[in-house]
């Protein structure tokens, strides 16, 4: 038994790689479809958008790049579908240079699906450098921060931006963030002074760090990772890539849990021997 444990502890890591690959691949090919439970923090975002009157101004900031696409793109798609369904005026932008094409692609795809018109129902402002300075600039004068949108159309006079001078005129804002240039920055440089309501959508890596903001009411809701996106898809009753990926997520988690438990079983089996196992 101890020999077996010793061999298992020193197993080639490529075996583990194959296990993970299998755990992710099989449910994607043959899904088992378990129900998704909705958390209060995701429901809070949904309820707020649901309660917004038509033609309210909704700002969606795509603060991520292709490395976080699988987690945050489904969130963006679900939020945009909901916002367009509610006939809100949607403004999009990004703080992340390499995420610009991705954000524009999402907007184009969902807007075409929901038959929304650029310039009238939505505008994608694109990327601009500056981080906190950009948010301050938008808070002071949106048209100075973004004199034109991503497709080079001048922003002053756009029907979708009618009555919007700066961030104080935004009714609701969601930042989809993959790192430090995201939710925290939007709160510190944006909501703190310009007083718009906001929520966050984040990758799983940074989600635990955002719970203090959720608790204190600095953000009114939080959509965390692929699970959060799947919950939002459940709420808008339109399944997408997030829901499709949750079975694979479940399988992968269970494989990791089994691996961790096995590693501890083998560790305790070998612990009695002289010298610690490597």
């Amino acid at each position: 038994m101890k020999e077996f444990a010793r061999r298992m502890v020193g197993i080639d890591r490529r075996v583990i790689f194959l296990l993970i690959a299998g755990a992710v691949l099989l449910p994607l090919v043959k899904p088992f479809g378990l129900p998704i439970k909705v958390s209060p923090e995701v429901k809070a975002v949904y309820d707020y958008i649901e309660a917004l009157p038509e033609r309210s101004v909704f700002l969606l900031s795509f603060d991520f790049d292709p490395s976080s696409k699988p987690e945050l793109e489904p969130q963006a798609v679900a939020l945009l579908r909901h916002a367009f369904r509610k006939n809100l005026r949607v403004m999009g932008m990004t703080h992340w240079l390499t995420g610009t094409g991705l954000a524009d692609g999402v907007f184009s795809k969902v807007a075409a699906e929901m038959e929304k018109e650029r310039g009238k129902d939505y505008v994608f402002l694109g990327w601009s450098p500056g981080g906190g300075s950009l948010i301050i600039a938008m808070g002071q004068d949106l048209y100075k921060a973004f004199p034109s949108d991503y497709s080079k159309t001048p922003t002053p006079g756009m029907p979708v931006l009618d009555g919007v001078r700066n961030l104080r005129d935004v009714d609701y804002m969601v930042s989809l963030a993959a790192g430090s240039s995201g939710i925290e920055m939007w709160y510190v440089f944006g909501k703190d002074k310009y007083r718009f309501e906001m929520a966050g959508g984040s990758t799983g890596v940074i989600a635990p760090g955002l719970y203090p903001f959720l608790r204190s009411g600095q953000i009114n809701g939080l959509i965390g990772g692929l699970q959060g996106a799947a919950e939002y898809e459940t709420l808008i009753t339109q399944k997408g890539t997030a829901t499709a990926g949750m079975d694979a997520q479940s399988a992968a988690h269970f494989v990791i849990i089994i691996l961790v438990l096995l590693c501890n079983v083998f560790y305790f089996m070998l612990r009695g021997e002289k010298g610690r196992p490597s």
């Binding site: 790689f17 696409k69 094409g101 524009d104 002071q140 203090p212 990772g225 590693c263």
Partner: protein
């Protein structure tokens, strides 16, 4: 000359720092106009700053190619990728989509940059599993607590875990909203105090590393 090289930058930092700290508390139109204009300037200056980082990358790989160090062929690949993308980008006027149709620049972005960047980070999933198997051991009470917390959250955040062990959902919610929040809040307060202290040191000229070194700092 010493004044221009050393004192002037420190004076500028001090004046800008104090002015824009006070600006937050002064709602006068002149104050608001100042921050509107200067924040716009910062956007433009940040763009120039990006070129600094890009230029150093150019330089590093140019040296590798010039000296023909082992692996310099890959630096050529990097240059080819970079120059090719720049050429295609300028040809498409920097746009990935025109009237809903994808441009060549958009094609390059969607089918090379997105998969490459996505795959680079997704590969970590394999390494996290391997590392968890090798190193995640309950060697002590603290490690056992960490292990238990991780297992509960991993189960509670997926449908299969919620289905098989329903209480993990509620425990995960409590864990995140209370226990995790407490720790994160403490860390946030501590880090923020440090950031404020550092900002004060910069404004007062005690911290000068941003000036870039040199004897006359």
């Amino acid at each position: 000359m010493i004044f221009l090289k050393r004192q002037l930058p420190l004076i500028i930092t001090f004046v800008m720092g104090v002015a824009f700290t006070l600006q937050y508390y002064i709602p006068h139109p002149i104050s608001e106009e100042a921050i509107t204009n200067v924040s716009k300037w910062m956007q433009i200056i940040s763009g120039f700053a990006l070129f600094l980082g890009l230029a150093s990358l150019f330089h590093v790989h140019a040296v590798k190619i010039k000296r023909q160090v082992p692996g310099w062929g890959y630096s050529l690949v990097l240059y080819a990728g970079m120059l090719g993308t720049i050429a295609v980008g300028f040809w498409s006027h920097g746009e990935t989509r025109v009237a809903g149709a994808q441009t060549s620049f958009g094609w390059l972005y969607d089918y090379t940059m997105v998969p490459l960047q996505g795959t680079m980070f997704s590969i970590l999933a394999f390494f996290i599993a391997s590392a968890a198997y090798r190193a995640f051991r309950a060697r002590s009470r603290e490690a056992s607590v960490l292990l238990a917390s991780a297992v509960i959250v991993m189960m509670g955040r997926v449908p299969l875990g919620q289905f098989l062990v329903p209480w993990t959902w509620d425990v995960t919610q409590c864990l995140l909203n209370v226990l995790n929040s407490a720790v994160r809040r403490a860390i946030l307060i501590g880090v923020s105090m440090g950031a404020v202290a550092l900002s004060l040191k910069i404004i007062l000229g005690i911290e000068r590393s941003y000036l870039g070194g040199g004897r006359d700092q």
